[in-house]
Symmetry: C2
Subunit: 298 residues, 2 copies
Amino acid sequence: MRPLVAVDWGTSSLRAALLGEDGKVLEEYASARGILTVEPGGFAPLLIAANAQWMRSAGTFYLLCGMVGSRQGWLEAPYCPCPAGFAEIASQLAWVELDRIAIVPGMSCEDHGVPDVMRGEETQVFGAMDLLGLEGGLFVLPGTHSKWVRAAGGRIERFSTFMTGEFYALLRQHSILGRTMPQDDGELHEGAFRQGLDHARRSANLLHAAFSARTLALFGRMPEAALPSYLSGLAIGEELRSQQLDAGRQVVIIGSSALTLRYELALAERGITSRRVGSEATWRGLWAIARTLQGQQA
Amino acid sequence: MRPLVAVDWGTSSLRAALLGEDGKVLEEYASARGILTVEPGGFAPLLIAANAQWMRSAGTFYLLCGMVGSRQGWLEAPYCPCPAGFAEIASQLAWVELDRIAIVPGMSCEDHGVPDVMRGEETQVFGAMDLLGLEGGLFVLPGTHSKWVRAAGGRIERFSTFMTGEFYALLRQHSILGRTMPQDDGELHEGAFRQGLDHARRSANLLHAAFSARTLALFGRMPEAALPSYLSGLAIGEELRSQQLDAGRQVVIIGSSALTLRYELALAERGITSRRVGSEATWRGLWAIARTLQGQQA
């Protein structure tokens, strides 16, 4: 296989990795030069700078994923409709430079005439499947906009976005609920977090459940320092409420441990076991897509 | 009955009315001096200023409701637990000045160990019942924090708060969804509003449904000018989703027509008829509480 530089270029960061033949990470690079910081025409120089210290052979292949393929990015890559696997993804790459630099398409799916989209997460799911030797399953990628992804037979069948991280930040920073809370979130108060999960599930409506973060403080039934954890439990609990989590089901959580710990706790509370895959999922996904592409071209 | 000055003193405004023996409004006064603008010790002078132009007899009774009875207000009035009617409310007034100036208590109720509260809305519900000759029913008071109130036998039995107005403002002003929307909400796009109601009901989770305001714009399936109406439909639809709205049920909407129109539309969409009562509900409620008090004292 040709030398591969895998690039995860998102809204607020740029990460790259030089991968060996077997997909192993040889070297990594990271900077805060997310796509929002890049002027038109600035993508190519930044990518070269990111790779300057690496030995580059003429045959190196650059495969990129993430928001770099959005309208605000380097080149708009299409959304590949669900269901799709490696083959569909590899055949719909957006080529910045033929046979040398390509961007992985995002994915889209339809729910009663309303579209949903993701960019970058599809690569992580493919990578997690490859790493864990899975052909399918239920995956969650926690974040500003969490994604729940279902796959089977090596293809992503459907997914849904939940604006959990963004809602939490809005309520924390700009709502009346934030006013009675300490400036910093501090450590996780597990009891308060679980209480939040529980109340979200019972209320079945965040517009109502969120108000309890105010009344519990008002009646002195929860210490102020525990309120951010409670609110976090309300938000994550609301996200989990809409998932079909049958007993005995396993969920793969993809993300850094800082983000995934609360999801592990919340799933365990529902009797669901989980496995975690970290940022290596992106590199493995890009490698697996490159491998498929090479197979198609051979 | 003694001359009554009814006062609705909220977070951001002060309204007062001189009422006749039969509860009719003789004169009204309004200013932007909500409780958040009042320094300690400043409540009495402002109340006197509000009434300066009215003939005041020695026997005038001042009855106040709203956030003026909160911890940040003039005097903290208790929360009267549900169920409660005129009798319980009248016997738990917080007296600023004995036999002359009193604040109506707020109300509280418990839902699985989590409290809910309101201040001012209880007075509006009592007023609406008195105006419409009802002993009970289902009431909604749209706003930053909407209240749904159930009453029977002349008493408020339970209620729930929904942070609908606040969530809408947060999403509109501070979220990624607001970025693709025009600065001003503009006129209501009824089609987009109904589409929002519909999607909220089907999604059954605002964390998920809200993302559609982004994807519909991304795919060019909704004009930008219609997006605020769509988001408003999502928020109000989410609030309505949690109400038991049996066919044939009538709902009383309390509020100014600017706020209530969308609720009328949303309820009609569900086959629910509604009646509207405006700001006169507050004056009538205060008058009815004063009448009950006089009866108790007689």
